[in-house]
């Protein structure tokens, strides 16, 4: 059974604990090879707990939910890995435990109190947590950013955004830090800071402030946010791009992970699939180095918006190396570019970006066929089918209100344009009818002329001469009689 300190919550459970490969990978690099006492405050997943246990002599896990604590205590290995304590942060502080060498609160400071806790604001909670750490301790704290892109674009009212603070409006806290600078001021001694985009992407904050629109760091952030569960007013990708252009991407990240004290060397970025380091040569991902430059999608969207088809054509002919970053898995001949172009089409059209191609090309596969040909790939039916299948498996942007309104507006425009098209066709048919009437009149005139010619004296003379000539030639006469007899018998 877990140890109980004041402030436990029951019945209660905290869902979605902090964790995942990005956080675990980051902590694996950060934590010392061997620490004495470690505190993990708040809900964290089993990988984080196992990692801490493997690097520490003694691990304490603080959970406010009694049932979560019981389940965790029951699930831990027989040889024990950590001590589970249930209760609130202030309750643990009251118990005056020995100082910890490592404190991990990657889940943040919002799920550490219960309804029986004092009304502690964010700085007070931070101070309590740091009070549990020894003077040279390594402390990791997750901080939510109220000025984040997803917060600004969240279409829910403020009161409906949080489920865990019903007993007290924790986010209505004037002392809660609202920027990275305020976090630094409040905590002091922040050694490094990582921006968190969703649960699976961490990017070093300094790199984010220096990145630009369309660069890999921005694309990492955008990709993570596009899979966010937050119901949105508008697509996050556009906002991410604007933020990157302004050098504000770190400032509008959904949250940060701040590190106080010294730890191991960490990478530039952590994702669900691995890590990456930004070097002087570019982004080192495994044994590959990718340029720290605008990606193909950004360039192509810009060329399409400028309606610069020659520029688009020239760029499409050189874009091959970037297929690898657009489509997961190993390159598969011409199928990979097909999949990449299908994905680009979906983003271009679905995102209501400006471009010079008519709707009948966008509706079917014609755009993809056009672009594939620009890339030097013959767009066969097989390549198109397989490319389409792969593209359908790639993550798509989540629905948002602005896109829904734009879809609606586009549908109205389509109706108006179709009506115009019908009007134009009717008018063309009228021209064509006129053309037919003119031709018909010409035919009638010619027929009348022919009739007049036939009934004229010279035509009659010519006819008589022809008959006489036939009579004077027995062979032709016999032939003519035979032909008429045959026609009569077959009648």
């Amino acid at each position: 059974m877990p140890t109980v300190v004041r402030g436990e919550v029951q019945p209660w459970t905290d869902r979605n604990p902090a964790g995942g490969p990005a956080l675990t990978g980051f902590l694996a690099d950060l934590l010392p090879a061997r620490a004495g006492r470690t505190l993990i405050a708040g809900p964290h997943d089993s990988d984080v707990l196992a990692l801490a246990a493997s690097r520490s002599d003694d691990v304490t896990v603080l959970l406010r939910s009694v049932s979560d604590a019981q389940a965790l205590a029951a699930a831990q290995p027989p040889d024990g890995g950590y001590a589970v304590v249930t209760g609130s942060l202030d309750g643990l502080a009251d118990a005056k435990p020995e100082p910890f060498d490592v404190v991990i609160a990657a889940d943040g400071l919002d799920r550490l109190l219960g309804p029986d806790s004092a009304a502690l604001d964010w700085p007070e909670r931070a101070a309590l947590l740091r009070g549990l750490a020894g003077p040279a301790a390594l402390v990791v704290i997750g901080v939510e950013n109220g000025f984040s892109i997803t917060g600004l674009l969240d279409r829910r009212p403020l009161k409906d955004r949080y489920g865990d603070d019903e007993f007290r409006p924790l986010h209505d806290d004037p002392r809660r830090p609202g920027s990275a600078a305020q976090v630094n001021d409040l905590l002091g001694g922040v050694e490094r800071r990582y921006a968190r985009f969703g649960s699976d992407t961490l990017v070093e904050s300094g790199v984010l402030t220096r990145t630009q629109a369309g660069f890999p760091a921005m694309r990492l952030a955008a990709a993570a946010l596009e899979t966010s569960d937050t119901p949105l007013l508008a697509p996050v990708a556009d906002a991410v791009e604007s933020a990157a252009r302004a050098g504000m991407l770190d400032a509008v990240a959904p949250g940060w992970l701040v590190v106080l004290g010294t730890g191991g060397t960490t990478r530039t970025a952590y994702t669900a699939t691995g890590t990456a380091d930004l070097t002087a040569d570019g982004w080192k991902v495994g044994d590959r180095v990718l340029p720290d430059a605008e990606d193909a999608e950004t360039v192509l969207l810009r060329l399409a918006a400028a309606e610069d088809v020659p520029g688009f054509r020239a760029y499409a002919a050189t874009v091959e190396p970037t297929w690898f970053d657009v489509v997961p898995g190993r390159p598969d001949g011409d199928v990979t570019p097909a999949a990449a172009w299908f994905r680009f089409r979906d983003r271009l059209i679905g995102g209501h970006h400006r471009h010079p191609w008519p709707p009948w090309m966008a509706d079917g596969d014609d755009l993809v066929k056009t672009w594939l040909a620009m890339s030097g790939v013959e767009p066969t039916d097989e390549i198109l089918a397989r490319g389409r299948e792969i593209a359908a498996t790639l993550p798509a942007g989540r629905p948002d209100l602005r896109t829904a309104l734009a879809d609606d507006e586009e549908a109205r425009t389509t109706i108006k344009e179709q009506a115009g098209h019908i009007f134009g066709l009717e008018r063309t048919m009228r021209f064509r009818d006129q053309q037919l009437r003119t031709r018909e009149q010409q035919l009638r005139n010619l027929r009348d002329e022919l009739r007049r010619l036939k009934s004229g004296r010279s035509a009659q003379v010519a006819s008589t001469l022809s008959r006489v000539a036939r009579l004077r030639d027995p062979k032709r006469l016999a032939g003519a009689v035979k032909k008429r007899a045959k026609a009569f018998l077959l009648r």
Partner: protein
């Protein structure tokens, strides 16, 4: 779908480029620019159906069209350039054997009851042509002037050969499908192309290898709409194309822009753009 698309057999040329029947070209779903102009690609009062696409020769008309609130543009390049690709040998002679000047008089139009005649001092223009040109001159008149005997005879009596390339047609009737073929063939035999206004023929001539010249009385067009700025604007925007001696390299560069050479597209792409592939 508009009958202007058939002017000068332009639809026919594009259909041939796309590998389709060029005797009876399929309908183009939109409007095809039929002559070079200083505006959006069409005359200032041209009507457009909602949703129809606008196919311009080059990018500048597309940009100007945007300022008029028009959208749905796609730049395709001038059909004359496609014809040049389709007919690489038509009318070609060794470069040193090209001679004479093909001189285009600014022309009127059919008018449709709204005017369309040109008015100016032909005698003075003839004098200037004689003073300027050092080799034989052939005057090209559009049929609207060719059929005005007083105009045609003025040039014939001046000793020039006078020719007419045919009619562009109207409401799908009377289109000379070989109009541009005949022009291309002629251009490739001449050393110079000249006109009294910067016009389509000058750009076609330069594209076909002629040295250009633009001089003389630009004359007045009955009912001319100065909305786009007229001759003064032309002088401001294309000074390198005006005069009796023009820098050929500069003229070629401008011609490539105005005829949209970089916008030429492969046949398969054109079939998709014009919705020319069968859908059933």
């Amino acid at each position: 779908m508009h009958h202007h698309n058939h002017y000068y057999g332009q639809s026919h040329i594009l259909a041939r480029w796309a590998g389709l029947d060029d005797q009876h070209p399929p309908r183009i779903r939109g409007y095809l620019q039929h002559g070079w102009n200083v505006g959006c690609g069409w005359n200032p009062v041209h009507e457009f159906f909602d949703g129809a696409w606008r196919y311009t020769w080059s990018d500048p008309p597309r940009r100007r069209g945007h300022t008029l609130g028009r959208r749905n543009y796609h730049v395709v390049g001038a059909p004359f350039l496609y014809l040049s690709e389709l007919e690489p040998d038509l009318g070609t002679v060794p470069e040193q054997e090209r001679e004479g000047t093909l001189w285009f008089l600014f022309h009127g139009w059919e008018g449709g009851g709204k005017g369309g005649k040109i008015e100016g001092d032909h005698a003075r223009l003839i004098s200037e042509i004689k003073e300027t040109e050092t080799e034989p001159v052939t005057i090209s008149l559009y049929y609207t002037e060719f059929e005005r005997l007083e105009v045609r005879r003025a040039y014939e009596q001046a000793g020039f050969q006078v020719i007419c390339f045919g009619k562009r047609g109207w409401n799908y009737e009377g289109t000379d499908r070989r109009f541009l073929y005949k022009q291309l063939k002629a251009f490739r035999g001449f050393k110079r192309v000249a006109a009294n206004r910067l016009s389509t023929a000058i750009f076609f001539g330069v594209a076909a290898g002629c040295v250009p010249a633009v001089y003389g009385d630009p004359m007045e067009l009955e009912g001319d709409n100065p909305l786009f700025g007229g001759q003064a604007r032309i002088a401001r925007l294309w000074p390198e194309m005006l005069g009796k001696e023009i820098d050929l390299a500069a003229a070629r560069a401008t011609t490539d822009v105005e005829l949209g050479r970089h916008h030429l597209m492969p046949p398969a792409e054109m079939r998709m753009l014009f919705d020319w592939n069968p859908r059933d």
